[in-house]
C-alpha cells in the first residue's frame, strides 16, 4: 500500500498540512493522505500522549476538519502512553468528526495500551483496527458504502449447496447483518443454488457461478448456470405467473415453491432463461 508522504517542520499548528509532520513538545504528528480515499487522513502520533498534547491534538483535528476530511485514522504504533486527558480530547474530536459523517479510529495499538483502553471502557467508544489497511477498508465500507464482491464457482452437486449457503450467511453476519437477515439470505442462496443444480446441466465441468455483491444496505445474489435443454421447459413453466397461482390453489403440490419463497424473502427477483444459460438475480435490502 502506498501513501502520499512528506516531511515538513515548523508548520503552524492552526493549519496543519494535508501531508507532513507537525512538531510538538511531547508528541510529533505525521499527517498522511490516502490516495483514492478523499475523506481519510492518517495521523501518526510519535511520542507519548500526555496532558500537554491535548491542545496539539485539538488543533490537528481542527485542521483536518478544515481540509474537509472526516475520517481520522490515529496510528499509535509509536506511542507508549495515552493519558486520560488525551483520551478525553480524542473523544471530543471523534464527536466532531461523527457530526461531519465520519469517525476517528485507532490503529497500531500495542497490547499494553489496548488493555488499558479496554479497562477504561474506551473500546466501547472507539473502533480499534489491527492495521491501517483494515481501517481504510472500514472507511470504504462504513462511510463510502462501497460494495464488496465474492465469486464462487462450483460444480452442480447438491451436496455442495449447504456449505455454500453457510458461507454467504457467515459473510453477511461478519459484515454486520443481523441473524434474521442472514438466515433469510441463507435460504435464498439455498433455493437458487438448488434450482441451478436441479435445472442446469450436470457434470463436473458445467460450473455454476454464484456472485454475491454486498454493501451495508443490501445484498445482491446472482446465480448463473448452463441451461440443460431437456429441463428448460420445466423451468420456464415454473416461471409463468399462472403456475405460481396454481401452487397457491393446490396445497398438495410439493414442488416449485422455491421461487415463490425467494419472492417473499427478497426485494427484487429477476430470472433470465435462455438456451445458453440461466441467470437468477436477487436483491435483498438489509432490514436490521
Amino acid at each position: 500500500m502506498s501513501f502520499e508522504k512528506g516531511k515538513m517542520s515548523g508548520m503552524s499548528l492552526r493549519h496543519p498540512p494535508e501531508t507532513g509532520t507537525v512538531m510538538g513538545s511531547s508528541v510529533n504528528i505525521e499527517i498522511r493522505e490516502v490516495p483514492r480515499s478523499d475523506g481519510v487522513v492518517i495521523l501518526h502520533f510519535i511520542g507519548d500522549l500526555i496532558s500537554d498534547s491535548v491542545k496539539q491534538i485539538n488543533e490537528c483535528i481542527s485542521g483536518v476538519i478544515a481540509k474537509s476530511k472526516n475520517y481520522a485514522i490515529v496510528d499509535l504504533s509509536e506511542s507508549n502512553t495515552i493519558s486520560s486527558a488525551a483520551l478525553g480530547e480524542f473523544m471530543g474530536c471523534r464527536k466532531r468528526l461523527v457530526e461531519k459523517g465520519g469517525d476517528l479510529v485507532f490503529t497500531g495499538l500495542k497490547l499494553e495500551m489496548r488493555t488499558k483502553l479496554n479497562l477504561m471502557g474506551a473500546t466501547k467508544i472507539f473502533r480499534i483496527h489491527s492495521d491501517i489497511r483494515t481501517a481504510i477498508n472500514a472507511y470504504k465500507w462504513d462511510i463510502e458504502r462501497q460494495p464488496e464482491k465474492i465469486h464462487v464457482s462450483f460444480p452442480p452437486y447438491l451436496k455442495i449447496v449447504p456449505p455454500l449457503r453457510q458461507l454467504v450467511s457467515r459473510i453477511a453476519r461478519q459484515k454486520g447483518y443481523g441473524n434474521r437477515d442472514s438466515f433469510r439470505i441463507e435460504t435464498i442462496v439455498d433455493e437458487i443454488c438448488n434450482n441451478a443444480v436441479e435445472h442446469g446441466k450436470s457434470g463436473p465441468d458445467e460450473m455454476i457461478d454464484l456472485i454475491v455483491i454486498i454493501d451495508p444496505d443490501k445484498i445482491e445474489i446472482d446465480v448463473r448456470n448452463m441451461s440443460d435443454p431437456e429441463k428448460i421447459e420445466s423451468l420456464t413453466a415454473q416461471l409463468l405467473p399462472e403456475n405460481s397461482k396454481h401452487h397457491k390453489s393446490k396445497p398438495d403440490v410439493k414442488r416449485g415453491r422455491g421461487l415463490t419463497l425467494i419472492k417473499m424473502l427478497s426485494d427484487e427477483l429477476s430470472v433470465e432463461c435462455t438456451e445458453q444459460g440461466t441467470s437468477v438475480r436477487v436483491k435483498k435490502v438489509r432490514e436490521e
Binding site: 502506498s2 483514492r36 481504510i136 465469486h151 452437486y157 449447504p162 458461507l167 450436470s202 463436473p204
Partner: protein, 172 residues
C-alpha cells in the same frame, strides 16, 4: 432425509447426484482479513460433504487460514485487491491454489526468505513471520510458491487423505 427410488430420484424430486471426483471449487474474495474465517469454514464443510473426516477437514482449514492470511497480509498492495483460491478435491487429496496480486518488494523478500528457510532445531523465539508457511509445510505433502515476473504470487499446496494412517494409529 429424502428417500431415493429405483430410478435414482429422490421422493422430493431432486436427482440423487453423488459427488464425482475430482472436482474444483473456486472462490474469489476481497483481500480483507475478515473474510478468512468464513472461507476456511467453507472449505472444511466442503471436505466433510466430500467424505473426508473431521480431522482432515480441520487440518485443511488451518492450511487455508495460513495461506489466505499470507495472501492478504503480503499480497494485497491496495484496498481493492482480490484473492483467488482454487480448491481441487480428489478422492484421496485436496489441492489448493491461491493467487494474490503481489505485495511490495519487502513483502516478497520476506516471503522468499520464509520459503527457503526451515525452522532450526533450536527455534529462534525472536523470529517474526515465516511460521505460517512452516505450519503449512508440516500439514501438507507438497508446498510450491511461484512468484512471476509481475510479482504475482501463487501458492500450491497438496494435502493427502490420512484416514488409513488415523485408523492404524487408533488401533495401536
Amino acid at each position: 432425509m429424502a428417500k431415493i427410488d429405483d430410478t435414482g430420484n429422490t421422493k422430493r424430486g431432486y436427482t440423487s447426484r453423488g459427488i464425482k471426483f475430482p472436482y474444483s471449487v473456486k472462490v474469489s474474495f476481497p483481500g480483507h482479513l475478515e473474510y478468512i474465517p468464513a472461507i476456511r469454514k467453507f472449505i472444511a464443510e466442503l471436505l466433510q460433504v466430500s467424505n473426508f473426516n473431521s480431522k482432515f477437514a480441520y487440518r485443511s482449514e488451518i492450511i487455508v487460514d495460513e495461506i489466505c492470511n499470507n495472501a492478504v497480509t503480503y499480497g494485497c498492495r491496495n484496498e481493492n485487491s482480490t484473492i483467488e483460491l482454487s480448491n481441487t478435491i480428489f478422492e484421496d487429496r485436496i489441492e489448493f491454489d491461491i493467487q494474490d496480486q503481489g505485495g511490495t518488494r519487502e513483502d516478497l523478500k520476506r516471503l522468499k526468505r520464509a520459503i527457503n528457510t526451515k525452522i532450526e532445531e533450536t527455534p529462534d523465539t525472536t523470529r517474526q513471520g515465516g511460521l505460517g508457511l512452516e505450519i503449512v509445510r508440516t500439514l501438507s505433502e507438497r508446498l510450491d510458491v511461484v512468484i512471476d515476473e509481475k510479482n504475482l504470487t501463487s501458492v500450491h499446496v497438496v494435502r493427502k487423505r490420512e484416514d488409513e494412517r488415523d485408523e492404524s494409529e487408533a488401533s495401536t
